[in-house]
């Protein structure tokens, strides 16, 4: 049960955070645009998806070849101050660098995998964006 102050706060947030109402013309334009995209067989963010995937792969390769000093690499045993890349040349597994909840969120069981094709960038993004408060 909400306190009266909480109800007022929620009401105020709800009132302030309301999009512009769509008039008939804008609604028709929205519908027409959607119709055109469906007709073309266009997927969300299909345009440029290949380029993005390519760029992500290139950036990833570059990052692994020459990791920036500002991004901490995980250590195997903290007390031993193990080097990020052991002398044997063995690198830490990729998944160790990616936030687990992010991986979970990518998983979309009810949506076909190909619908979420350009996900490489998410993994890439996870390496650069610290925390998720701003997301």
């Amino acid at each position: 049960m909400l306190e009266p102050e909480d109800e007022r706060l929620i009401e105020e947030i709800s009132r302030s955070l309301r999009p512009r109402a769509m008039d008939g013309m804008r609604a028709r334009a929205f519908q027409m645009h959607l119709s055109e995209r469906l007709e073309k067989g266009e997927g969300p963010s299909r345009a440029g998806a290949f380029a993005v995937a390519l760029a992500a792969a290139a950036a990833w390769t570059l990052w692994f070849t020459n990791p920036p000093s500002s991004v901490p690499m995980p250590t195997v045993v903290a007390e031993q101050h193990a080097p990020a890349v052991p002398e044997g040349g063995e690198r830490p597994p990729v998944y160790a660098l990616v936030e687990r909840p992010l991986i979970d969120e990518i998983d979309a069981p009810e949506v076909a995998a190909e619908d979420y094709l350009p996900d490489d960038y998410l993994v890439l993004a996870a390496m650069f964006v610290e925390g998720d408060a701003g997301w």
Binding site: D6, I13, S16, A27, Q31, P44, E110, D115
Partner: protein, 199 residues
């Protein structure tokens, strides 16, 4: 994509037209009606999840409808059509947020660019910006639970289904979200009360 080369937005449920739309027919008469019935709420939900960006909200809504149409074949009716669809909307909004974060990161190294708040929407843009900032400070799950339950009127159970989380998890995130917003926006509720009593 439609299987028959016809535009799904022009299709209705006739005996001939049932096949390409049979999955969606469980919950809606046809695709335009499906869109029409959910358009406003979808845009509003995306707008709120994105902290007040009209253009982005409309983009997210378009993409969500496209994804929904393309994924209809995989809809197994394990959840309601609405739960399934709004899950897509929430994911699409988060996807947009991430893209925006990545773009910001690549375009300006350390410069903090405030997220877009539509100045043309009626109301106080300053207040909207503050509210958007407060929502941005919440964790993604706190933000989603707060928006879905308190702003969009979904029940806790529906929200848990949309987010794919346990009911208890949703409740605790909702509680924390409200605590945090109460602290960040303490004056907003008072202001609302003053305005109402003045009018």
């Amino acid at each position: 994509m439609t299987g028959s080369g016809r535009n799904p937005m022009e299709m209705t449920l006739t005996a001939e037209g049932i096949a390409p739309l049979r999955e969606i027919a469980r919950g809606a008469a046809d695709f335009p009606a499906f869109v029409e019935a959910r358009r406003e709420r979808t845009i509003r939900l995306a707008y709120r999840l994105l902290g007040g960006d009209q253009a982005a909200a409309e983009d997210v809504a378009q993409n969500a409808f496209l994804r929904a149409y393309r994924a209809l074949a995989s809809f197994r009716a394990e959840s309601s059509l609405d739960t399934w669809f709004y899950r897509i909307v929430v994911r699409e909004a988060e996807r947009h947020r991430r893209w925006r974060a990545v773009r910001r990161l690549w375009s300006s190294d350390s410069e903090e660019v405030p997220e877009a708040v539509d100045e043309t929407v009626v109301g106080d843009p300053g207040l909207r910006r503050r509210i958007a900032a407060a929502l941005r400070e919440l964790s993604p799950l706190q933000r989603r639970t707060f928006v879905l339950i308190h702003l969009e009127g979904f029940t806790v159970v529906e929200t848990a289904a949309i987010l794919g989380r346990a009911v208890g998890t949703v409740k605790s995130h909702l509680h924390r979200a409200l605590d945090r917003l109460r602290a960040d926006l303490a004056d907003v509720a008072e202001r609302g009360m003053d305005e109402r009593s003045a009018s």
